[in-house]
């Protein structure tokens, strides 16, 4: 008898942890018109969605995902017809290349003129004629550092990442391209380089960095927390995350090294699975409205491509490099190009070689 109780306890403990692991999905009402939206988690002010529903009478089925790769899998599974999706530029490019994105006349949208032309120019790298996507938020890859131990001059160059003085003090990104980018740039190559020899050279620096015990950890989501807790002095991370950490700890600051870095743009696009393009365009037009973009900025705190949002900010927010990259910074940055399957496999292989080193 006793045994049975224990195994029951064991099973229930397992079941509880299994259940909490998978989240529930929300269902929407079937009445009237609907719009199925797929976006990153916590990437929109919920009141914005409510307001859109109220103003247009369209019911929004809102779904979220964590990583672009997860979005790709979700979209390709085809069980849900998404009307409009937001993702990172390299994933948008991949889907454009695969012919999964519909061409639209975004220029005809009422609020398209609100978009910052500088960012639109940058987005030409993956959407040449601006017919496939609408920028939503953007930012840079840079160094978040602790002012008490590191001076600004040190982090003005990527070379500080390879300096053995910072033993156990540097956090790198646990994602292949973001960690290879500074190594490639330090070697004088583009962060979109796919030449095997160049990648090998970059890998050698990264291996040496690991050998010299400079790397405290390879983190993604934990970077901000670790830096707030002052576990390391320098961290490679995205501007938005840096801004979040800086708001929590006044000792932190953010720098985009002079050699250049990555500029990322998260963009909306209308996929082939869209069932109602008019409604999807209505939604995108709504997001480009000044007051709506303002609301979303207040919630997300990343750089908004809507000109008026930046204009209305206080000077300290406006000049915060971790929120709004200056035009100088943007000029020396490069956008990731989508990798072919072969190149992607090549990168993954080198990355695993580094991690198991």
């Amino acid at each position: 008898m006793k045994k049975r109780i224990f195994s029951a306890l064991l099973i229930s403990a397992l079941a509880v942890s299994a259940l909490t692991a998978c989240g529930g999905s929300s269902s929407a009402k079937k009445s009237g018109q609907t719009l199925t939206v797929l976006n990153y988690g916590k990437y929109i002010d919920e009141s914005v969605v409510k307001q859109f529903e109220k103003e247009t009478g369209i019911t929004v089925k809102y779904e979220e995902y964590e990583s672009p790769e997860e979005m790709y899998t979700k979209y390709k599974a085809g069980s849900i017809n998404y009307d409009v999706i937001c993702s990172s530029e390299y994933m948008v490019e991949r889907l454009i290349n695969e012919g999964e994105v519909l061409e639209e006349d975004y220029d005809a949208m009422d609020n398209y003129k609100n978009l910052d032309p500088t960012i639109l120019d940058m987005s030409a790298s993956y959407d040449k004629n601006h017919t496939y996507s609408v920028p939503y938020f953007y930012g840079t890859l840079g160094l978040l550092y602790n002012k008490t131990t590191i001076d600004a001059k040190t982090v003005s160059s990527w070379n500080c990442l390879w300096d053995p003085t910072y033993e156990d003090e540097i956090i790198m990104e646990n994602s292949v391209r973001d960690t290879f980018a500074p190594a490639l740039i330090s070697k004088g190559y583009s962060l979109n380089d796919t030449d095997e020899n160049h990648l090998r050279e970059a890998l050698d620096i990264l291996k040496k960095q690991k050998d010299d015990k400079i790397v405290y950890a390879y983190y993604v989501d934990e970077t901000a927390d670790a830096m707030i807790g002052e576990e390391a002095s320098i961290a490679l991370c995205y501007s938005g995350e840096a801004a979040l950490a800086m708001a929590e700890n006044d000792n932190l600051d953010y720098s985009v090294p002079k050699e250049g870095s990555n500029l990322w743009i998260d963009s909306w696009f209308i996929p082939k699975s869209c069932t109602n393009q008019t409604n999807a365009l209505k939604f995108l037009n709504f997001l480009c409205k000044d007051d709506i973009a303002e609301k979303n900025f207040e919630y997300v705190q990343y750089a908004s491509p809507i000109t008026s949002v930046v204009e209305n900010q206080d000077a300290d927010v406006k000049n915060n490099e971790a929120i709004n990259p200056s035009s100088d910074t943007i000029k020396r940055c490069e956008i990731y190009k989508a990798l072919s399957d072969d190149d992607s496999a090549k990168y993954t292989k080198l990355w695993q070689e580094l991690l198991s080193y």
Binding site: K3, A21, E69, Y219, S344, T348, L355
Partner: protein, 274 residues
Amino acid sequence: MRKFKQQFLAGPYLIWIIGFILLPLIMILYYAFTNGDGSFTLSYITAIADETNRKAMGLSLRLGIICTIVCLVLSYPLAMILNNMKIKNQGLVVFIFMLPMWMNFMLRILAWKLLLSKNGVINSILTGFGLSRINIINTPTAVVLGMVYDFLPFMLLPIYNSMTRIRKDWIEAARDLGAGNVTIFLKIILPLTVSGIISGIVMVFVPSLTSFAISQVLGGGHVLLIGNVIEQDFMQGMQWNAGSGLSFVLMIFVIASMTIVNIFDKEGEGTSIC
């Protein structure tokens, strides 16, 4: 009629097996033995011999074995102490050991991360007393610690269960016939708990061999287990075929370890009963 009813009741379970066990298995097999174009290949299976994968597999095996041994060494005496305790409600004591399992295991691992980190709770206390810090976060040691912490109940319970089944009068009889403590332990207690030890080993070794979340959180990217390689193949690199190939190899390792254990188990039971 009754037979039909019984079969009918098994229906949902059958659907479960087909939908959530058989179909995914077939899909993994399909991906593992084909390349992107859908033609047959063995390259994803032989990829286990690549240096990276071999290292990751070796590390997984090593940490899995260490974790299992530590769990066994900790659990066995503990089970004996629990079993010999002269309190009325032993169930309560075991229940207390089970209690942490009611919390999600990821949460508990994240808590360990906070405890162990460079400026974490443990190091703050140590430096407060003027002692030196312990820097085990982001090392294999931290990963083993996390695994042991998570999987210990899976070792303790089967051993404890097999111990409660040993009748006290057998031990008294042995004592009457002049057996010392060591003899009683070696001739009675150990042989009768072999089945518990065996199932404990399987229940600890298999999850620690295949785990990837613990090494992710407590290893800080420095500890690459085979589970992490597979996870990256699927989630970051979108290399479904490569991931499936390694999953298949990992399954072989799991099945092999269970088979070995089963052989020992039969021998163990054979000697203990006769």
